[in-house]
Subunit: 365 residues, 2 copies
């Protein structure tokens, strides 16, 4: 194999596919980036068997071939080469030369034979979104997915498509994050799939910054993301995601509050809660004031914020992190909290529920 | 005690004295910042017994007194308070209230009695430097000090004053970094002291950014840094620092090279050297070319750079990090390397030796 391309193109491609290189693995071939120049295009590829990414880079193929190179070393080398033409040539026994001007690196690569290529998947039903919409909807929900693998399905996010709506849901047993967006076109067929959280966060990182489109295809077991010259293929998580259609949106207390004021206040209160010990913050709603309190072995804190209230006074307690996580991804200047009693979930949502965050309260005495 | 001050003043003061709070200690009082308002000024203080810092902050004392507060919690609270007036008041049993608008924190402080105050030290011989000069000279040498405590004296830097010269030296057994600066005034008495590296790096961080002066005072066992409203007192390291006066500056090979080109080249070569395994880079000087090579189980690298050479050809090997550390703190566009043979130290220095970096070569086969 012998190819030549610009450092810029190679760097961009390597950055993209690196997201599918696993951090730890016992299979050395998975730690590699495959350069496939066996046909008319230079394709970079990486695949951790759950998530696979391939991208086409501009360049010239002088001699067709395939080589797998250790992803970390290869990407370090590319990053530290000057902004110039780079030539990669493979000799016998996978000896690989990377040259750039007067600089020459020699590495030993691996055969592409052991590399597990990304499955070829028929592209049927597609969902077209702007890159910005997809990034936003991931950022605004992903923090609510479960972190531990005990309940595998909760480490993913539900993508639910029906008519001209897409609803994205993440939940971890203590809270729910939900965003609903209007699609440009009707989907031909209603669909519910659960996409791994890791896939979504990696895709987020490599989506282009500008206002382009990304196309999603779904099959029984896979989701495909296509944008620019890149294809991401990921397994879906099997199983039944919790149904969240019967959520009861009744309330007896509704408060309107400045979002940034509440963030600063909860953030300050968190100082009194050591990580690990789960000290709740207590919200005491009386007339037009929210008094926020916390008390721990570190000390105590107390702060009053002006609010607009409808309904009953209430005292209720929460994990401060759950409140912060939700508030930080809302774009509105004012947020509205809906509560019933100290044991029932609190909702933070807008009128139309285009966003909805449910947080379970904590018992306190 | 009851004091009021602006968040800005308090934040600045806390940032400064925090540098003397030890990361790990078994004495809880050392983890505290002392607020001493027992006289006419509000003084913040921290002291890890080797290094002590005190700074005066603007504010009003309503009731005199002293309190010690956990440095981490106190500085977190101050940082997260809004930009407003802050009142700190101490009630019985060291119960401390920090209030700011509608925000109220309660903490339990500690008596100032156990706090080891910074020793009162007579100020005799002083050395006045611009803040920028002191910061520069620390940054340009400190990386060469020894990291491990086996030879305590090498964890410090030699400050050597004589006539109108200050020479600062750090060395770790494999390399030497030396900077010489002209003083504005003659020092009345020649002096050699060894200042702990930790003191110098912490002082560097809190020196003001603008072009002010810092004054240094020396006693038998201590050095004092005074700037703005801050005083830093540090123990000196006892013992005899290596004498570096008899350095032999002879050479048989002298090469002139673009500094940034050499940095990029050595930086790339480092990719082939795993941390831990001490793979040397090999410099091969022939005519007007420096060829830099490295070979390891990762792979090999080879690069040629144009140079201006005087004297003999040479092949010599170094630890790439030592070369990089020195090159990165030199401000000149071109640097000159002086060598004798593959076993004798290499010098990187300017004509007048205002800077001088000595690096021992590594054996190679």
């Amino acid at each position: 194999m012998k190819i030549t391309c610009s450092k810029e193109a190679l760097q961009k491609g390597v950055n993209i596919v690196s997201k599918a290189v696993p951090q730890r693995t016992t299979m050395a071939i998975l730690e590699c980036i495959l350069i496939d120049a066996s046909k008319d295009q230079i394709v970079l590829m990486a695949n951790d068997t759950e998530l696979g990414i391939e991208t086409i880079i501009d360049g010239e193929i002088t001699e067709r071939g395939v080589i797998a190179l250790d992803a970390k070393i290869f990407s370090d080398i590319v990053r530290k080469l000057p902004d110039d033409e780079i030539t990669i040539s493979v000799e016998e026994n996978f000896k690989t030369k990377i040259t750039c001007g007067k600089i020459k690196f020699d590495l030993v690569g691996k055969s592409g034979e052991d590399f597990s290529y990304i499955p070829v998947i028929p592209r049927n039903q597609s969902l077209k979104l702007s890159v910005i919409t997809l990034k936003d909807v991931i950022r605004q929900t992903i923090f609510s997915k479960a972190d531990n693998e005990n309940n595998k399905i909760l480490t993913g996010e539900l993508f639910e498509m029906k008519d001209d709506m897409l609803r994205v849901v993440a939940l971890d047993g203590h809270r729910v994050a939900m965003r609903t967006i209007n699609l440009r076109e009707m989907v031909p067929e209603a669909k519910r799939v659960v996409i791994p959280g890791k896939t979504l966060s990696e895709v987020s990182k490599i989506l282009p910054g500008d206002d382009e489109d990304v196309e999603l295809f779904f099959t029984e077991n896979h989701v495909i993301f296509e944008f620019e010259k890149t294809t991401v293929v990921s397994r879906l998580i099997e199983g039944e995601f919790l149904s969240i259609d019967q959520m009861n949106l009744d309330y007896t207390t509704k408060i309107k509050i400045n979002r940034l004021d509440l963030i600063s206040c909860v953030d300050r209160a968190s100082l009194m809660a050591n990580e690990g010990d789960k000290k709740p913050i207590i919200l005491e709603v009386t007339d037009d004031t929210l008094e926020l309190k916390i008390s721990s072995f570190i000390g105590s804190m107390d702060e009053k914020i002006d609010i607009e209230k409808e309904g009953k006074d209430i005292i209720i307690a929460f994990n401060p992190r759950f409140i912060l996580d939700a508030l930080r991804v809302i774009d509105d200047e004012e947020v509205t909290l809906y509560m019933i009693n100290p044991k029932a979930p609190c909702f933070i949502r807008d009128e139309e529920s285009t966003y909805l965050y449910l947080i379970l309260p904590i018992n306190f005495n």
